[in-house]
Symmetry: C2
Subunit: 150 residues, 2 copies
DNA sequence: TATTGTTATACTCTATAACTATA
DNA sequence: TATAGTTATAGAGTATAACAATA
């Protein structure tokens, strides 16, 4: 099936955005689905494991915020990750309502393997010359800096 | 919550890929979810409507391929789009097993509004100078051309 | 025999609302 | 009263397997 939208972009930035979306759709999504299938994770489980950082416990509600879903969903997602021994719930010292999420050693290993599979640049970027690669990286760094990120 | 992965990239392309993923995650996803909520579409319904092009009927199985899911899922997704009058099933002339999907006038309008909301470049890209915007667009065009796309 | 789309089944994700235990 | 997390519920997406109609 062909691409989604018709051309005629409002600005070079809009066209770049469109091209980035196409790249993510065609390469990023396929790779993500393949990687999580290998590791036996569902998409939200994989996103949760990516968001959680080993050695940095966070409350359930913060994970819900990062995943952009309701707290009640996180209960089930974490249940299944915990069943597989990838994360643990711990009580918070200062507030007994809060449960802190901790990545286990096994979870950290799965998380590392996932990151490894997602890190490599896809073919269209990898094939670019060194100059283009660096220019692309530098422009994107500037974009995110301008927006106050990082 | 902080970003997902640790730094130390294998190449400028790998870092650029990481930055693009961050951009999509932080801006693309939020905008997509807001747009489909306004239009009353679920994520797969919206993806289906994006993939289908008015005036270009395609078989159910081709949509399944474009969505990267099983044929059996498409039955339900299309059922709900058809209930809302956004697409129609038509019989194919040459093979009576096949059903062709057609975007209705109403579906085309919803599809247009969706595309409109997703087309604008997000703030980090829009804030770049003209030179950077054009350079970014040109590099991405080259990347997709090299990979044999478009 | 093989293929297209549907149905049946089971599991996961999703939001909403009601509940608990804390604060 | 308000908040963190759970449970209950209902709707949607997902893959697998079995099926009907057609090729």
């Amino acid at each position: 099936m062909a691409a989604a939208a018709a051309p005629a972009h409002a600005s070079p930035a809009a066209e770049a955005w469109d091209l980035m979306a196409a790249l993510m759709q065609r390469y990023g999504k396929a790779r993500f689905m393949a990687a999580i299938a290998e590791l036996g994770l569902s998409p939200p489980q994989a996103m949760a494991l990516r968001m959680l950082r080993p050695e940095h416990p966070v409350p359930m509600s913060e994970l819900a915020g990062a995943l952009g879903c309701d707290n009640s969903n996180v209960t089930g997602i974490v249940d299944r990750l915990e069943d597989r021994g990838l994360v643990e719930r711990r009580s918070a010292p200062h507030d007994r309502r809060v449960k802190m999420l901790v990545v286990t050693a096994r979870g950290a290993e799965v998380r590392r393997r996932l990151a490894e599979r997602l890190a490599a640049a896809p073919e269209p970027l990898a094939r670019l010359g060194e100059d283009d690669q660096r220019a692309l990286r530098d422009i994107l760094r500037r974009a995110l800096e301008l927006a106050g990120e990082r």
